[in-house]
């Protein structure tokens, strides 16, 4: 199976995925800003109320993490018709969205990009340590006034 490296055009794939996801669930696309490398950054990788982390394996190693404020996730829960809005539902939906963003990446990377079930957690300002050695990309975006982000750190298994 062919295994491609993570390149800027792949970041474009994640950006498009984010835009289309929110357009699909609400009719309003997310507005994705320029992605940037978190190289040598002391900033926390995750900065929001809830985070959904997907581990990448197979022909690739790394992580994809979706980080969002409670208010954004509550809005998504409302749109999906969910009747409960506790932490349990927020953790569930942040993990599910991370799963959907990662799954869509297989359009570009193929089935060699194996994705884990989501690990969802609450809390701010955490660094994540994946097996990938390269610096992660942060992809910030806004949707209906909420600020959120995706942090993507993927490299081929040979690079790791």
């Amino acid at each position: 199976m062919t295994v491609a490296e993570l390149r800027p055009e792949h970041i474009e794939l994640f950006s498009t995925t984010v835009t289309e996801f929110f357009a699909s669930i609400s009719g309003d696309p997310a507005i994705v800003r320029s992605a940037y490398l978190l190289e040598n950054s002391a900033d926390p990788v995750l900065w929001n109320d809830f985070n959904g982390l997907i581990e990448i394996s197979g022909g690739y190693v790394g992580t994809v993490c979706f980080s969002a404020p409670r208010s954004l996730l509550t809005h998504v829960l409302l749109l999906s018709g969910e009747g409960q809005y506790g932490d349990e539902q927020h953790l569930d939906i942040v993990g599910e969205i991370a799963n959907q963003f990662s799954g869509r990446a297989r359009l570009k990377f193929g089935a060699a990009l194996e994705i884990s079930t989501p690990f969802a957690f609450a809390g701010r300002a955490r660094q994540i340590r994946g097996r990938a050695k390269s610096a992660p990309y942060a992809i910030p975006f806004s949707w209906r006034g909420y600020e959120a982000g995706l942090v993507v750190n993927i490299e081929t298994a040979e690079q790791a």
Binding site: S80, G81, E82, D92, R106, G110
Partner: protein, 123 residues
């Protein structure tokens, strides 16, 4: 006679959403016979409830969707399985069909997409 549907997805939000969609009048002949959050539970429930129709996530803990499809088809050869997954590549869809799935809906899905897929599966 009612068609018995089992919903399998590790997200309770997605399970609940599919369950609400099944309340649509166009699916009035469908009744939910079980909800499962992983593949092992789905196989257990299938033994007890003998569903006619299953919506199946692929990325799940304990037993993934592909293995669960295989187990369900072996247990209930006539069961019809609609995969509802975020895994967007063609290989995954083909593999699911080869294991016994009858349709594929990509997440995120619109309500009408899933309704039509369920209706088509019954046509």
């Amino acid at each position: 006679m009612a068609i018995r549907l089992m919903i399998v997805d590790d997200s309770s939000v997605i399970r609940n959403r599919i369950a609400r969609l099944v309340a649509d009048p166009r699916l009035s002949y469908v009744e939910i016979c079980g909800l499962a959050g992983d593949g092992l539970r789905a196989v257990e429930l299938a033994r007890e409830q003998k569903p006619d129709l299953v919506t199946m996530d692929l990325t799940m803990p304990k037993m993934d969707g592909e293995a669960t499809i295989e187990a369900l088809v072996s247990l209930l050869p006539d069961v019809r399985i609609l995969v509802v997954s975020a895994l967007a590549d063609r290989t995954t869809a083909l593999r699911a069909v080869m294991k016994g799935a009858h349709g594929f809906v990509l997440k995120p899905f619109r309500d009408e997409e899933l309704l039509h897929a369920l209706l088509e599966l019954q046509a």
